[in-house]
Structure formats: C-alpha cells, structure tokens
C-alpha cells in the first residue's frame, strides 16, 4: 500500500498520467482467506503486462475487481484516469475482458455472439458489421463465422472468446489464461494476435502460469503468489533481481582437473565443479565470459566436444522468490 502511494507522489492525477490502468493496494478477502493482498500495477498504452503465478495465486480475483465484477475490500483502480468499480458503467467501455472460462453462447454463431457483445457496447449498423469481419479475420474464424459455436473445436472457441473481448476496441484488454487447454497451433495464433494488438497500442493485462508466454509477450511481468506481487520488472530485471547466475557446461577429453584449476583462477568464474569429463562453471554473465573460458580450457589441453550455456529463466526466478514451482 505504502509503495503505491509513494510512487503517486501525493498527486493521483500525475500517477495515472499516461497509464491506461493503474491499480493500487488492491485487497480482496473471501472469509478468512485473503485472495488478493495489496496488489498494485500500472500499464501504459501499447504495453503488455504479465501476471505470472500458480493456481490460486489470485490472478482471476484481481482481474474480476479490475473488470468491475467484484467489489474490492480496499485499494483503488483507475482506467484512463477514471475510477473503476462495480457501480461504474461508462468506464467499462474502455475495458475488454477475456475470461479464463469460455463465456460465449453455444447456440449462437460466432457472428451473432460478436454482434451481441458489440451491441451491448453501443456499436451498431455498418460500423458493427465491419468490425465483426475485422475481428473474425484477426482470429482466423471468418470461414466458420456462421456456424453455431457449440460445434467448434476447443481452440476455435477460445479464439472466439478472445474476439468477443476485442470487439469494441478497448483501451485495456484483459486476458485471463487465454491459452489453457489449447493446441499448439491455436496457441501460437492467440499469442500472435496479442502481439499484434499491443502493436496497435492496446494496453494488455495477461495472466498465465506459462513462463514462456510471459517471457515472449510481456514488457513487464509481475510475479504473484498468495495474493501478493513478489517482484516486478522486465524479464532481465527479474533475473538480475535474484542475483541471476549463469552456468557454462564444458564437456571434453584431456586433463580435466588441470583445466578446472586454470578456470578457477579466472575472475569471471565463481565456481567450477568436475564430474567425469564434464566441467560445470558458475559465472555472472555467460555470453561475455564464454570466449575467455573456452580459450583457457583449450590452453590447458582440453579438447572440447560440447559447450553449453544455461541461463536462469522466469521459472527459476519464481522458484527463488516463492520456493515453489509455477505448475503443479
């Protein structure tokens, strides 16, 4: 809470300046359980923010409050500088929500579903028809647009679920684990359309427990667990944050022990482990050190078969911060 207020520098208008979404100190309890515990985040136009966390972390609860479905117990939400909550009606124009579970009418066609939600957003006539075609194109469903959605494959339903959130060109698009249970092809299509949307200047809030997705899509990532944001930043900031160490693995024939001795003397190398024909080096920044390491090993007479660089990923960041794995 105090963090959010300080960054606001006593002037809420300044804090939300340029921000499409600004959330501060958000709290939601269900009985004894505090599902969301002081979440704050800020997303600007064209930015994609990833909320990365395991099952039950509080991602959906956070989103429900931002979309105005669930009242918050504490904290503030503003969208384009205007307060947002369950009783706000007009602000909802700027938000597009793609819920985690499919929320489309199975009896209706894709076109009818899109038309319904478009009309609820106040769209009509030619403008609506054109936008529906545009969105159908974006999610590659044009050829099945007039079939009842209950006959769609899982991936097609997911894509339509996303399209419904986009129909009114919201300033803020919220996607709650949009790729769960989707085949690789549809998943790729979904990720590509999210990239395209953020390229068009949409602010995107994307929750997932797949770190590859967060790494690929998101400009900033918040790591959430038990309702709290444990760390936040760009991918490399997060890795640096945990004092990210890289690993270089050398495999080769020759005087392994001697090479290990020589490598230990290098300043860039922290630790060297030996296991049979394999040397494992802990270094600060593998890309800049690797040349020196390879030269040194060669000088001691080691004939290298293989050089492998292992860098920490968000998974290890997560493990480091929460002591648990992202997926259960």
């Amino acid at each position: 809470m105090s963090d959010g207020q300080r960054s606001g520098e006593d002037d809420p208008a300044r804090a939300s300046e340029g921000a499409v979404l600004l959330v501060e100190g958000l709290v939601r309890r269900f009985g004894d359980l505090t599902a969301v515990d002081g979440v704050g985040l800020r997303i600007e136009a064209g930015q994609t923010y990833g909320l990365l966390g395991p099952n039950g972390a509080g991602k959906t609860t956070t989103i429900s409050m931002i979309a105005g479905l669930l009242p918050a117990d504490a904290g503030t939400i503003s969208v384009l500088g205007r307060p947002m909550g369950p009783r706000e009606v007009e602000v909802k124009h700027h938000i597009g929500l793609v819920p985690q579970d499919l929320a489309i009418y199975p009896e209706l066609t894709a076109r009818e579903n899109l038309a319904f939600f478009g009309r609820l957003q106040g769209m009509r006539g030619r403008q609506l028809i054109e936008r529906i075609d545009e969105v159908l194109d974006l999610i590659a469903l044009s050829d099945r647009a007039d079939d009842a959605t209950k006959d769609y494959s899982g991936g097609m339903k997911r894509r339509l679920n996303i399209a419904v959130g986009l129909i009114h060109r919201p300033a803020l698009l919220i996607l709650d684990e949009p790729t769960v249970g989707v085949d690789p092809q549809s998943r790729n299509a979904i990720l590509r359309s999210v990239e395209a949307l953020s390229g068009e200047g949409m602010a995107v809030l994307y929750t997932t427990h797949y770190m590859e997705e967060a790494a690929r899509l998101c400009d900033r990532i918040g790591i959430i667990d038990s309702g709290r944001i444990r760390a936040e930043g760009t991918r490399s900031e997060l890795i640096t944050l945990i004092g990210g160490v890289d690993t270089i693995r050398l495999t080769g024939a020759g005087p392994v022990e001697e090479s290990a001795e020589a490598l230990r003397l290098l300043e860039a190398v922290d630790k060297v482990g030996v296991e049979g024909r394999c040397l494992t080096l802990t270094v600060h920044d593998a890309p800049t050190t690797v040349a020196q390491v390879v030269t040194t090993a060669a000088r001691t007479g080691l004939a290298l078969d293989e050089v492998e660089i292992v860098r920490p990923d968000l998974e290890s960041v997560f493990l480091h911060l929460t002591g648990k794995a992202l997926r259960d």
């Binding site: 429900s64 124009h93 209706l108 609820l120």
Partner: protein, 386 residues
C-alpha cells in the same frame, strides 16, 4: 433501454435455436387447450341406445335425438337392455314393429323406454320423452292434414315450414345459491379454461429459470456485466425475454380456446392487460428463482412445486368461486387469484379496465417488486467474480 432490448433479443434467439422449445411454446399449449376442451366442453346430452328394425320411425327418432346433441347407438333389443344395465347407455328406447307400422299408417305409437342408473338420466329420460311425443304429434299432424285431402308431400312441407317459424321457448334458471350465481351465464369451459391457463402460463414461465442458470454457468451473464450496462438493465433484459414468451403463450391459449371451443373470455382489451401483467409476474418469479438457485434441478423442482402450489391456492385448479372466505383471503397472496378475479369480472360482469384497476395495480406492484428483488439477487450472484 437499448441494452435491455439487445439482451431480450438474444435470449429469444437462443430459445428459437432450440427446437424443443417449439414444442413447449406452440404444441404444449395446444394440447392443454384440447385437454381443457375435453374436460369442460362435453356438449353431449347423454347416450341413448335405440332398438328396432329398419323403419321410418326409427330413422326419424335417431335424427331427432341427434339434433338434440344426444349420442345415439342402434342395436338389438337384447343389447340395448344390456347397455343400459351396464351403464354404457343412459336410456334405452325400443321401437316395436307395431309402432313402426303405426307410424307409417298413422296409427297409435307405443314405445318401450328403459331408464338408466346415472344421476342425470332422468333429465335424459325427459328429453327422450319429449322427442318421442314430438314425433307422435308430428305423425298426428300429418294424418290430420292428409285426412283433409292434402297430398303427403304438401303436408310434410307445410309442417316443416311451421316448425321453422316456431320459436322454442327460452328457459331462464334462477339460482338461489351464491356460488351458482357467480357462475351464472358461464359455461363450465370458461371457468376451467381461465384457471388452467393461469396455471400453465405460470408453470412454463418458471421452467425458464433453468435457462438463466445455464446462462450464469456459461459465464455469459458475468461477461454481460463487464459491458457498460447496469445490473438492472441485465435483469430487465432477461425478464423481457421471458415475459415475451409468457405473454405469447397466454394470448395463444386464449385465442385457441376461443376459436376451437368458442370460449368466451370477455372484452379483449382488458383481458390482454391482465394477461400482460400476470405474465410479467410469472417472468419475474422465474428469474428470481434463476438467480437464487444454483442448479438446474433445484430450479426446476422449485419452479414446478411453486407453480402448482400457487395455482392450487389461487384458483388455477379449483375455481375461486368455490373457496370459503378464509381460503379466499389466503388465495389473494398469489398473483393467480388477482388475475383470476379480474378475468372473472371482465367475463362475468363485462367489467372494463377501470373496474379491474385494483387487481391490475396489485399485479403491477408484484411485478415491480420481483424486478427489484431479482436485480439485487442477480448482482449478488455475479459478485462472486469470474
């Protein structure tokens, strides 16, 4: 207003996509009307079994009885006796060969009448007697005319002309019993159709509660609320869809009973107004259940149970006119009783909108209260988040 229409429209379209709804909306009411018709519009004035060989007399007798809406079967004297004894016929008539001959030659007519055991067979017996005496008189008249030198053909046509210009006496039955007075002028059919229509419209509307539960389960309802619409608009839209269906059904049943069975509902304007408000109450109740109950089965159980209990209390099964005064007050906790009263006044006493204003006002208040309560429970049901 537009979001309300958009939501109502999409609900109707969904309804239309599911073929089984055609059965519930179009076919089932028709079946209901036929059942009501069979129950209450039994126009037959009883069953008469006639015995006797082929003769002009027998033919005339059968024709005259049928003209009086009596069901007639022709059989051997033995079978006729059996039929009456077993209750398959209410009255038996045996036309002897002598009588048949006497009819042809204008002699004296003699019949054997066998009365049945059914409580209303005295009435039928009476009817049969009057038919027989009419035949006897006719044959006497014919004899008198031919005796005066008229040809048989001319005599017959003169008699037929006379029968045409005769006016049958109208009988007015005056009841002393209070409830009988309330029913006076009404066919049984009118009363039965009124109560059962209310019952049916309410029960089928309540069955719509499960549709709302499905919408909630689909997550579409929550998603609808993320659009710039208020909970009140969402509820009103859902209600409007249900309301349109209930009103359609009510009007459809009224028209069918009127066209198929000649039921008389009274002046159409006020009847429509009552049906509109009653349908609104039914739709509101249905949606309230749909937002409170969490499962399909609970909703349909609750819907049918509530629908039947309210109908039984409110005159949907037994006409309100037969209720005691205490029970009548209880009955007026239900929308059915108010709608029933209004319809009874419109039909029985030719009441206009102004005369049934209190009933209409009560129904309107009920509908508004349900709409407000439903909006509140809807908001609560979606405030669990996604």
């Amino acid at each position: 207003m537009r979001p309300v229409l958009v939501i109502a429209g999409v609900e109707l379209r969904r309804l239309q996509r599911d073929r089984s709804n055609y059965f519930f909306v179009l076919v089932l009411p028709l079946l209901l009307v036929l059942v009501i018709g069979a129950q209450f519009s039994d126009d037959s004035n009883g069953r008469v079994a006639v015995a006797g060989g082929e003769s002009t007399l027998r033919e005339n007798l059968v024709r005259a009885l049928r003209a009086d809406d009596v069901e007639v079967t022709v059989a051997s004297p033995q079978t006729v006796r059996e039929k009456v004894a077993r209750g398959r016929a209410d009255v038996g008539i045996i036309v002897s060969p002598q009588a048949a001959r006497a009819f042809a030659t204008q002699g004296d007519l003699e019949f054997t009448l066998i009365p049945g055991v059914r409580s209303d067979s005295p009435a039928l017996l009476h009817r049969a007697r009057s038919v027989l005496s009419r035949l006897t008189v006719q044959s006497g008249q014919l004899a008198a005319l031919t005796d005066r030198g008229m040809s048989r053909e001319a005599a017959r046509s003169a008699l037929a002309d006379a029968a045409q210009s005769l006016r049958r006496p109208t009988l007015e039955v005056v009841d002393v019993d209070e409830s009988a007075q309330e029913f006076s002028g009404l066919g049984q059919f009118d009363v039965g159709a009124r109560g059962q229509t209310l019952l049916f419209v309410f029960v089928t509307a309540l069955s719509g509660a499960s549709a709302l539960i499905r919408t909630r389960r689909l997550g579409v309802l929550s998603r609808t609320l993320t659009a710039p619409v208020s909970a009140r608009q969402v509820f009103a839209g859902q209600a409007l869809g249900r309301f349109a269906v209930a009103t359609f059904q009510a009007v459809y049943i009224v028209l069918l009973t009127a066209v198929l069975f000649g039921a008389d509902w009274g002046s159409p304007g006020p009847v429509l107004l009552v049906l509109l408000l009653f349908s609104a109450v039914a739709a509101g109740t249905s949606l309230l259940i749909g937002t409170v109950a969490d499962s399909d089965t609970v909703a349909s159980g609750l819907g049918i149970g509530l629908g039947l209990v309210l109908a039984a209390l409110g005159g949907g099964m037994i006409p309100l006119e037969l209720f005691g005064s205490t029970l009548r007050s209880v009955a007026h906790l239900t929308p059915h009783a108010w709608a029933y009263d209004a319809l009874a006044q419109i039909r029985g006493h030719g009441a206009g909108v102004l005369d049934v204003l209190p009933e209409l006002a009560v129904l309107a208040v009920m509908a508004l209260a349900l709409l407000s309560l439903g909006t509140w429970t809807l908001r609560r049901s979606t405030a669990r988040g996604l």
